[in-house]
Symmetry: C2
Subunit: 333 residues, 2 copies
């Protein structure tokens, strides 16, 4: 594979930083690297492969000669820049929600539907972080026994709301322990020693934007438009790995023993399911790791025998939930 | 109502302390108060109604003349002392799991099945904290539309594991923020900035002891032996209020608007469901409060119309989840 001219859009953000470090780690063949961000980041630099790269303001003229854009900016910024990226001939792997549900844009988790990449027309969307972890864990079971319904409740880290939210968790926690009660800023509610319903706006059906993404994107990634799914997305005082409690209804009987075998043999998964030592996936243990950790694999007694399963899943929100998945897509291109 | 001779068993524990403060707050008619605990607490004192009460070692002779025992000791201690309590003629309201599933012991949440108190034979059991909050929220909907299946995932505070776990959450968090990595002691896994599957031992069915309590006790409290229920119990870094994400399948169609009306008119509940301001129940807001807070009330699109509901529920684990519920039982006696 020849080396490529790569632009990282949103290079100063928490996902952008993770993209740069994973490109290095995985020795992605980069010939030239452009670090793009909003105008207010101009003057900053980023480090890449031992060099200092100045941050440039992203604009319509930023993409000349670029072959690959790894974007982790907001949906509206990416939507605005997409025509310029297309005109430059670069392929856009986009972390935002801008294009995820467009029928001509593949929405890809490489372990699950990597084949969809081949059909791209210049844009490949990287799914929502909760949907990525969910699909890595559920896809192998779906193939084996056809998942008919999913009930998922999440335990989401501050990182999903960006660097400011991660810092707020730390600063606020320190302040609370010192007897203060600081007002929340990056997040709408106190996060230190608290839990709250995900802060995305609520739609007319009562589901918040995060939940709607999880439900719609999971159907698209699994190629299962009829899949019934309900999600409750919740923030917890954790820095950067998400956890999910997943209840599955299966069309075909499977059973927990077979489910464990299937999951143990599936790509991107490590089964952590030690009942004797009470050791299961934990966000702290998943932090900085590339795999999706799956445990608490058990039959659900509230469903017909073999037709219900429970899972407890963790994965690093910034790596597999965002930057790593995007780079795995780029590697397959 | 005349004043009573009351013994608090486990008076130095976190629930015992809460019992003493709620007895005061609600002006429960106490004539004499005995503070009982394990021998290692002898020498300590507790405060009650402005007086200093010495802690006595709980033993078979502790209950002479006592009319009411409010117990929050371990199940084995309470099981051992129960014959002496019965012999003294006192009524035992027990927070432990020792007698909860015995067919001759009422398991009571006053708002739900307060009538069951009348049938007691000397022991009334106070349910598991998760089951109490769940039943307060679900019972009115069950009466209206018959709940057939419950899928619940919890976000449980450190308080459920006692005072040492609460202190560990604080100390460990402070240490982590200072760059240290202290070994967990009161809890089996790190709790600062982490989430883990509840530490109760795992049974042969893969469910942990906490989950099994929630499932069995909910059926008993609701008087619904056929109810299908599955629980995933999880610890989060929160001090003293539990949160639950609850998915319901209903036999009869209901719909979220009617569900909200019913919940708003039900005892022990405050509906907090402001979609516009993204304000829903939060453990921090429920701390120190007596009510069960219910929000995120919405139809579940993964079930037939009107037959599925989602709820997000919070309540103070030490008050309604333990001490307050026990005293509400005693008040009804």
């Amino acid at each position: 594979m020849g080396a490529h001219s790569v632009a990282v859009l949103g290079a100063t953000g928490v996902v952008g930083q993770e993209i740069l470090s994973i490109l290095e780690e995985r020795r992605f063949p980069v010939r030239t690297l452009k670090a793009l961000a909003s105008p207010r980041s101009v003057g900053k630099t980023v480090r890449f492969n031992g060099e200092t790269v100045p941050v440039e303001a992203a604009g319509p003229t930023s993409f000349k000669g670029v072959e690959l854009v790894l974007a982790s900016a907001g949906a509206s910024v990416t939507r605005e820049l997409a025509p310029a990226i297309a005109a430059s001939g670069a392929v856009l792997v986009d972390n935002s929600s801008a294009f995820r549900m467009r029928s001509d844009v593949p929405l890809v988790v490489p372990e699950v539907n990597g084949d969809a990449i081949a059909g791209h027309r210049g844009i490949i969307a990287n799914p929502n972080c909760v949907a990525i972890l969910l699909c890595v864990a559920v896809a192998p079971l779906h193939r084996a026994a056809c998942v008919e319904r999913i009930v998922v409740s999440t335990y989401q880290a501050a990182s999903g709301a960006g660097l400011a939210a991660m810092r707020e968790l730390e600063h606020q926690t320190r302040a609370v322990l010192a007897g203060e009660a600081p007002a929340p800023a990056a997040l709408p509610h106190p996060i230190a020693f608290n839990v709250f319903s995900h802060n995305a706006a609520i739609g007319p059906d009562g589901y918040n934007g995060e939940e709607t993404k999880v439900m719609n994107e999971t159907r698209k990634i699994l190629g299962a438009p009829e899949l019934r799914i309900t999600a409750t997305c919740v923030r917890v005082p954790v820095l950067r790995a998400h956890t999910e409690s997943i209840n599955l209804a299966l069309r075909d009987p499977l059973g927990e023993a077979r489910a464990r075998e299937i999951l143990s043999a599936s790509p991107g998964i490590e089964v952590v399911d030690d009942r004797e030592r009470n050791t299961f996936p934990m966000p702290l243990a998943a932090t900085g790791k590339d795999l999706v950790y799956v445990g608490r694999i058990r039959d659900d007694p509230s469903q017909p025998e073999g037709r219900g399963l429970q899972l407890f899943v963790c994965g690093d929100q910034l790596r597999k939930g965002a930057a790593l998945n995007a780079i795995q897509i780029a590697e397959r291109l």
